[in-house]
């Protein structure tokens, strides 16, 4: 039967005996939801900022962007949609900012899901205005390209032919930024921003490994642990982990943005969850002690 009481739904040691310690293990979930929402809203409205220290993984990505040779493009593969936008949005913005900051020309592309092409375009357009960058010259959006691995395989041979038209339906060959871009080897760095598992394996298997194109990535915090082995092996040059990675990049390029803003809320949300876990365990241990003693 479904739990209608709104309680935790799981009785720990001593819970059946009732009492204060047992109740600590059964805080109704509504209180947890309310407290979490309150903490997040509080920190969005009145943030308590903490200093952000860039990690080695973020430094790796920033250095990889800086190392892109003159005349080569940075390809930002925005493979995300609004479900992960809280993390991938600030990450994309941070990578775009880093490109503008280091005067690297970049192109956006989306392999999956299609929504990423539009969302990433909105972000890049806004930032481009601040840098007075021109679409088609300093940056471009290749749009959503259907076929994932087939697109990557075809790009090895002929990028303009594979891409065809950009986000606005304009042939990419007509864009000045595409001058000198023939194959995937004319791309100096691929930055994969994604919340989807499996995309990195394709990029590494078809582009980074066989073609030697440097590869870096930005992942949602939940999927990043799975990609540390690629970082250790040097197949990934650098990595942004969740919103924290975006905040670290913003700190590195001295352009505080959404990533930094999220950090306060996320910090206190993590503390709240840890407190809940401690409270639940306190109740569990003490109730078990009472059961044993009497």
């Amino acid at each position: 039967m479904a739990d209608q009481s709104g309680s935790s739904g799981q009785m720990g040691a001593g819970a059946s005996a009732g009492g204060f310690w047992a109740r600590l293990q059964q805080i109704p979930r509504y209180y947890i939801y309310l407290l979490l929402a309150a903490v997040v809203i509080w920190q969005i409205l009145f943030p308590i900022p903490f200093p952000v220290t860039p990690s080695a993984t973020t430094r790796g990505l920033e250095e990889a962007i800086r190392a892109v040779p003159e005349g080569k493009l940075v390809l930002i593969s925005a493979d995300w949609d609004s479900s992960t936008q809280a993390e991938t949005g600030p990450q994309t913005a941070a990578v775009v900012e880093a490109c503008f900051r280091h005067r690297k020309r970049f192109v956006l592309m989306t392999l999956s899901p299609p929504m990423g092409a539009k969302l990433a375009n909105n972000i890049a357009s806004e930032i481009a205005k601040q840098y007075r960058a021109t679409y088609g010259v300093d940056w471009a959006n290749w749009g959503y390209k259907y076929g994932t691995s087939n697109v990557l395989m075809a790009m090895v041979k002929d990028v303009p032919k594979t891409v065809g038209s950009d986000f606005y339906g304009k042939p990419v060959k007509s864009l000045p930024i595409m001058r000198g871009v023939r194959t995937v080897k004319d791309i100096g760095l691929v930055v994969e921003v994604t919340g989807l598992a499996g995309m990195t394996e394709m990029w590494i298997g078809l582009i980074q490994g066989p073609q030697g194109v440097p590869f870096a990535a930005a992942y949602t915090a939940v999927m990043a642990p799975g990609y540390y082995p690629y970082l250790d092996s040097g197949q990934i040059e650098g990595m942004l982990v969740g919103a924290k990675g975006a905040a670290e990049m913003e700190s590195l390029i001295a352009r505080p943005g959404l990533g930094m803003a999220i950090m306060s809320a996320q910090s206190w949300a993590h503390v709240l969850i840890i407190l809940f876990i401690i409270v639940g365990n306190l109740g569990y241990v003490l109730a078990r002690g009472r059961e044993k003693s009497g």
Binding site: G9, I27, R29, I32, Y33, L36, A37, F50, P51, T53, S55, S82, S83, A86, M115, L119, S125, Y135, Y146, G147, N150, V151, M153, A154, V156, K157, D158, S165, F167, Y168, G169, K170, P171, R182, T183, K185, Q211, A221, P225, G226, Y228, P229, L231, V241, G242, K244, A247, Q266, S267, W268, H270, V271, L272, I273, I274, F276, I277, G280, N281, Y284
Partner: protein, 293 residues
């Protein structure tokens, strides 16, 4: 109309004719297959096609590079990626896959319309949800296509005609104002469930559970700036720097998590290889029409 959808550069007359001709030929072919092939014939066709496509991509990947090509290609040998005798076929094969993929989108739409159409017509329980599907589907479809067909320049100029304004604003409201926030809100609910689940599930019932909890605390605090702030008193140089929460979190991720992930990745890859072989050879139970009599 096709010219405005495809863009002025792409919608050349031969391309339009090719698309129409291909659609017609596909329709006729599908009708003939449906009409004259029984379940056994259809299954056989799919098994053979799967095997041939799998064989092609497998051989192309494993055959040694720089041998003679099977057929001539106009493409230059760019970037030293000559490939092998099957490599020139990758592009047409990929195009075929892309076209088939596009058809599956159409199939998905057809299926949705069929299911929700029945719900609305028969006034089944919750029919209004199905009606909402039609409403949102056609609204997004119409405004999306309309806005795209205008090929507005970037950045959007401030002076748009009334038609352009309606098309652009309508699309922006539906996409940016409704669809994106709805999807984000649905996903963000997970944070609340995770908080509640962590509170309920994390109990120190054994030494392993305690170890897991300690690791979780370290990573959770190491992933946010408050962790670094809490241990800011510890010097960030020398061996003692490892005790700073951000460094400890990074150590857990790289020294403990990474080897475990590597092992999992190897296991998954071997499993995927075995599974792929079974699907390629149509040995997998329930493949295609196996359950059809």
């Amino acid at each position: 109309m096709l010219t405005s959808w495809l863009g002025p550069q792409q919608a050349t007359t031969p391309l339009v004719y090719h698309i129409l001709l291909a659609l017609l030929a596909s329709g006729v072919l599908l009708y003939l297959l449906h009409r004259y092939l029984g379940p056994r014939g259809r299954r056989g066709l799919i098994v053979v096609a799967t095997f041939l496509f799998g064989l092609f991509f497998g051989l192309e990947y494993f055959l040694p590079v720089r041998t003679k090509t099977l057929w001539p290609t106009g493409l230059p040998n760019v970037g030293g990626s000559a490939g092998n005798l099957l490599t020139p076929g990758i592009e047409p094969m990929s195009n075929i896959l892309a076209v088939i993929g596009a058809f599956t989108v159409g199939l998905g739409v057809y299926s949705l319309v069929q299911v929700h159409g029945r719900n609305v017509l028969r006034r089944r329980a919750g029919w209004y949800n199905s009606f909402a599907f039609f409403l949102s589907f056609f609204a997004m479809f119409s405004f999306g296509l309309w806005q795209y067909s205008l090929h507005l320049p970037e950045p959007i100029p401030p002076t748009l005609t009334l038609t352009q304004r309606i098309a652009n604003d309508g699309y922006e409201i539906l996409f940016q104002g409704l669809y994106a926030p709805l999807q984000a809100a649905t996903f963000s609910l997970l944070a609340f469930y995770i908080a509640s689940a962590a509170y309920r599930a994390f109990r120190i019932r054994s030494a392993e559970a305690a170890l897991m909890m300690v690791a979780a605390f370290i990573v959770m605090l190491g992933q946010v700036p408050i962790g670094a702030w809490l241990t800011r008193g510890i010097p960030n140089e020398g061996a003692i720097a490892l005790l700073r929460l951000e460094n400890l979190g990074e150590w857990v991720m790289r020294s403990l998590n990474s080897p475990a992930q590597r092992g999992i990745a190897l296991g998954v890859a071997i499993g995927a290889l075995a599974m792929s072989l079974r699907v390629w050879l149509s040995l997998e139970r329930g493949t295609f029409f196996a359950e059809q009599k």
